[in-house]
Symmetry: C3
Subunit: 139 residues, 3 copies
Amino acid sequence: MKTFRKELVFHIPGREAYVNITPQVEQAVSESGIREGLLLANSMHITASVFINDDESGLHSDFATWLETLAPHDPTSRYHHNETGEQNADAHLKRQIMGREVVVAVSQGRLDFGPWEQIFYGEFDGGRRKRVLIKIIGE
Amino acid sequence: MKTFRKELVFHIPGREAYVNITPQVEQAVSESGIREGLLLANSMHITASVFINDDESGLHSDFATWLETLAPHDPTSRYHHNETGEQNADAHLKRQIMGREVVVAVSQGRLDFGPWEQIFYGEFDGGRRKRVLIKIIGE
Amino acid sequence: MKTFRKELVFHIPGREAYVNITPQVEQAVSESGIREGLLLANSMHITASVFINDDESGLHSDFATWLETLAPHDPTSRYHHNETGEQNADAHLKRQIMGREVVVAVSQGRLDFGPWEQIFYGEFDGGRRKRVLIKIIGE
C-alpha cells in the first residue's frame, strides 16, 4: 500500500471565491504514483469547502446568491458566534451546505470522473492564508 | 490490497426521483471479494446525488417538497446558469444539499450499516443517461 | 494493510445536541496502530450527523437556530413522514444539511487536522440509543 500527502495553499483577497483546483489535484495523483485507490481532498479550515460541481461562472454566481439567501452575512449581529469578535458565522454555515471534503476514486492513475466533474475550493471567509489537504491511499 | 470498480447506469424518465441502490451496492461488495475496507459510491454527474437515509416514501415526498422550497426550479430565469441554455441550475443546488457521495465501511464482507441506513441515487435533472461510480479498496 | 473498527454509543436525553467526539476518535486512531491511512466516522442512524466544524458554543447555538429555520420541527403535520407515527421528519432533513459522515486523513499516527477542526456528533432526534461507526484503513 502507498500513501501520499500534499497541501495546497490559498490566500483569497476578498471574502468569497470559487477556485478550480482540479489541475493541482490531478498533479498530486501523478506525483503519488498511485494507480488504484481513493483520494481525499478537504479544507483544513472550517469556513471553507472542497466540493465537486460544474466549472461555469453563471452557476458560481448562483451559488453565491443562493448561499447568501440561506445564510446571510448581514447583519453580523444575528449570530452568537460573532460575539466572539469574529464576523464569519455565516461562513461556518455556508461551508456545511457546500461540504468540507470530497472523496474521489483513482483508477488507472487518474481521477475517475464523470464528464463535467471538477473540484473546487470554496472560500467563504477570505483574507487569510488557508490550506487544502490531499491524501491518497492505494497502490 | 484489492481494488474494485463498477458503474451503475440510470435513465430516469421524469425530472426527479429517489432510487434505492442498496442491493446493487451490496452486490458490488460481493463481486469485489473485499472483506474489510472502504466503499465510495458517487454520482458521476453534477445534477444528481448519492446519499444515505430512510427508505420511506413519505420522507422522499418531504425531501422533494423541501428541496423545491430551498432551491426552486421556477422561474428558471432566476438563475444565471440557465442563460447557458440549460434549465437545471436548481438541480446543481439541490445536489449540494443532498451530497455527491457516500463512503461506507465494508466489514466481514458486507456494508457496515446501522439498522435503517439505505443508499439512494437522487436524480434532480432526469431524462438522460447517468452513472454512479462504485469504488472499493481493502483486502 | 490494516483495518480497524469501533463503535461509539450515545444516549442524548433531549432532542438536539452537538457532542465533540474528537478525543474518542483520536483514541481510536491510537488503538488501531495505523500510522498512514484514511478514517471514516459516520452516524449509523439517519436522524443524526457526524461533521467537522468549530468547538464554539455560540456557533452551535447558531447551527440550532439556523437548522430550525431551514427545516422546522413544528408543525409536525407538515411532513408526510410523520404520518408513519414518527415526529422526526425534520431530523432527517437537518442531517442532510449537516452530513452523515466525515473522512479524515491519518498521518504519522494522528488525525491530520487544520488548526480548528473538531469532529462532532450532531443529534437531531435524541432520547434513544444511537451509534457512530469508526473505520480506519491504512498501514
